[in-house]
Symmetry: C2
Subunit: 491 residues, 2 copies
């Protein structure tokens, strides 16, 4: 059953790259750092989009759309923000091409230089807050709860399909509130929405926590995040939710008249999740045979493969297959009936295994005679022959079971891969031999965090929101610490 | 009932601009030519997207995503294409900003100049066909039926919200086929999909036809289109579908092995519709009181306004309103219950009229006593008091009736605004005094078309696909013509 995939245990990075390509999820484009998301990969993203979009709307948000370009001067208005984003952005300087006078083909027209350069948005806080200034006058205009689905560009030097690309697709929520409390509440609400989506839809357990200052969003007062663990023991930040305080309101002079009549700066949040989630989904569950997709996000939940002898299908087999197909569709299950006679059943089995289709039904001549069907599950690679009677109910239950099993497996992996370190030696030993999340005391300074990163490549992923407070000593400096924090090497 | 809108008869352009702003659809952004699509406007776009997306999927297409940027050299590979698009594009030349050494703030880092400039996609044929080269080897890989939802940029000098903006949102389908016949069939199929969407969802009648050479897409062999008529008698191109022949296959060397074993160039199509449709929707139906939205695209189909005396609602009124609300929702109708006590009923009536909500239900104390309710329709501005019993059925039927009535009204307008001209004098007279579509004989040359445009500002919108052939003489040159074509001044 070789798919030509490297084994995870031998070459995890190679396994990931090959899997993304062979399963038709994405590929590199002719533009450095930008990817092409292929139809199968995009259909997973569409499921992620529709799941998140519903959750955003259920929590009172509406969608809108803001410009792709940001005037250069806007980026500079929030001091931390420009530091974080100016170093890796695409800059539009001209608005026309022309034929070269010396016959060198098409060139940039030097006369079409923009007065002020435009930045392709790396994130939209600045252009959105400059717009909010006109939308918000009084407390009656608050809260303003808006989300945007968009593409953004960050000029990364080292890119990997889905995980880190120059252009990526994402959603960015931008909300404005009358009080600090309300804005903090919103920030935490959206972190919880991300966590619920990751666990319920992606079957990917996550830690919820707060970032340290060094890992905070450029311009935020606090960054909340969800952190998942990949099968190679490295962490993946899967969504962030930022409490912006009044930073952007001050930078763009966004004030509101309170109910009492005074003028105050607005409180803000922003939160985002991206096509990176597709990378996380792949790395959290898939195996050496290919993708393992949770049923809730699988573009095809069930495939029916008829086992045909020679050419064409017996009418009885076609009839039975169609009956099952319709019964499954009536249950709201997404089914593909692969009756192509250009490919053999064995080829199809391998193909759908590679593509991570959760359930495969196979139907041979004997099944037609006996009223049975073979049912195989992708997560455990097990199969059995069962009565075709009531198969739709059985499949529906099995999809729920697979969704839960994938989650439980990932949860157990995370639990087995979470360790405590009480000394720097222990810390280093765990990171080198086991990987995973390491809980350790830290003195709370950026210097210590930087030194530990330099020594071990591990960063503080988060300070869990439900952390137990306990007295201890920093593993590096021995200085007092009030809680263990979560370290890991990360994507 | 003044909304501060100019009257259509006095200032059509001003009416449109004000309506777009006052109805919270969109506004200009700080970036020249780029718009902000506000939540209410975006929710109309979401309905357009989901309607079209379903139709694309039902006709066998899948979505994918290709890069925002196109290498400059790609744009030049198809000769006509570069002529059409190089003159109005945003050019990325650098990938980093830095702090100015002389303290002038943030500047473009001259050391971060790209080796080859990148163009922000004005349309994606080039980058997609360069990708298709790797995806297509044999006839088994065909047809390839892909659509993309994306933003594109064309550096327009004169922009108008929705109708013509530098950045706009759209979908672009790009398909590849083994034969010319199949590609032509696809081109026509997608023109028909657009026409069906325009008529069934947007309630906007359209002419289906073929463009003349001068109006053809840069790089196409034939451009099919749908053309709608706005209330000021000007035409709006609402969707185009291009038969690309083998032009892009040749430019990007995309060949396939036929079933017989020879190597041939692939045949292509591309087709697109954009946020311009929102502009068309507004201009096709709305009146001096505000938007008139067809129920199938209205973000809110029904609003319930309680007529409260003094502060708060009587429990009986609340109970009755909730009962109606639930009954409507069970019918799949999108309802808003506006029980705010911060605004008076009259204010709300005007607001929902401006926003084009198709049906308004109002509920006063006497209605609660008598079991009645006032039902008002936006399209005719009529209202009546009816029994609240079975109101959900009545509303559902009314929504269908409104959808149909809006379409019939627009159709009658188009019929009344379509004229035949048998001489240049007649032609000019109609355009000056009546506007609308003008059918006239044309000698088939680009020169004549250009002269007529220069003299009258009217262009040939299309040669209708179901045109009657008849001998005649060109209104300008008197040369022989085989059919009348459709002229109009256009957006």
């Amino acid at each position: 059953m070789s798919k030509g995939l490297p084994k995870r245990s031998e070459d995890y990075a190679g396994w990931y790259n090959e899997l993304v390509k062979k399963a038709d999820l994405a590929e590199n484009s002719p533009v450095r750092g930008c990817m092409v998301i292929k139809p199968y990969g995009y259909s997973i993203w569409e499921k992620i989009q529709s799941g998140l979009d519903k959750m955003f709307k259920d929590t009172g948000h509406t969608n809108a759309y803001f410009p792709l370009f940001i005037p250069k001067s806007y980026l500079s208005k929030e001091a931390d923000h420009v530091e974080g984003f100016a170093k890796e952005c695409a800059v539009v300087t001209h608005y026309r091409l022309k034929n070269d006078e010396n016959g060198k083909g098409i060139v940039v027209d030097p006369e079409a230089r923009l007065e002020e350069e435009l930045i392709v948005r790396p994130t939209s806080e600045t252009v959105i807050w400059s717009t909010y200034k006109n939308w918000i006058q009084s407390y009656r205009d608050l809260p303003l709860l808006i989300n945007q689905w968009a593409n953004v560009v960050r000029w990364e030097m080292r890119t990997r399909l889905f995980l880190r690309t120059a252009e990526f697709l994402w959603q960015e929520g931008h909300t404005a509130h009358a009080t600090r409390e309300e804005a903090v509440e919103e920030t935490i609400r959206m972190m919880n929405v991300y966590a619920e989506f990751a666990e319920q839809h992606m079957a990917m357990p996550v830690l919820k926590g707060v970032k340290t200052e060094s890992e905070r969003f450029a311009g935020a007062v606090d960054t909340y995040c969800i952190e998942a663990l990949m099968q190679d023991g490295r962490a993946l930040q899967a969504g962030t939710s930022h409490f912006l305080g009044q930073n952007f309101a001050k930078a763009f002079d966004v004030k509101f008249a309170t109910q009492e009549g005074s003028l105050e700066y607005v409180w803000g949040t922003s939160w985002g999740a991206s096509t990176r989630l597709v990378g996380g989904l792949i790395m959290a569950h898939s195996d050496d045979n290919g993708l393992v997709l949770p049923p809730r996000l699988a573009p095809i939940q069930v495939v029916i493969v008829p086992i045909m002898k020679g050419k064409g299908m017996e009418p009885e087999m076609l009839e039975m297959a169609n009956k099952i197909l319709n019964a499954l569709r009536e249950k709201g299950i997404t089914v593909k009936f692969d009756d192509r006679d250009t490919h053999k059943p064995g080829w199809k089995f391998a193909e759908y295994e590679l593509k991570g289709v959760p359930v495969r039904l196979a139907l041979g001549p004997r099944d037609v005679e006996q009223g049975t069907i073979e049912i195989a599950r992708r997560d455990t690679l097990t199969k059995e022959t069962v009565s075709a009677e009531g198969i739709e109910k059985r499949v529906k239950d099995l999809l729920d079971e697979i969704q839960n099993n994938i989650y439980q497996k990932a949860l157990k992996f995370r639990e087995d891969s979470t360790h405590e370190a009480n000394s720097l030696e222990e810390f280093t030993e765990i990171l080198e031999n086991k990987g995973g999340f390491v809980k350790a005391h830290w003195d709370g300074t950026a210097e210590t965090e930087a030194k530990i990163k330099e020594m071990t490549k591990a960063t503080i992923r988060c300070i869990p929101i439900d952390n137990t407070l306990e007295e201890g000593k920093c593993i590096l400096t021995g200085k007092p610490s009030k809680q263990k924090v979560i370290f890991a090497k990360a994507y």
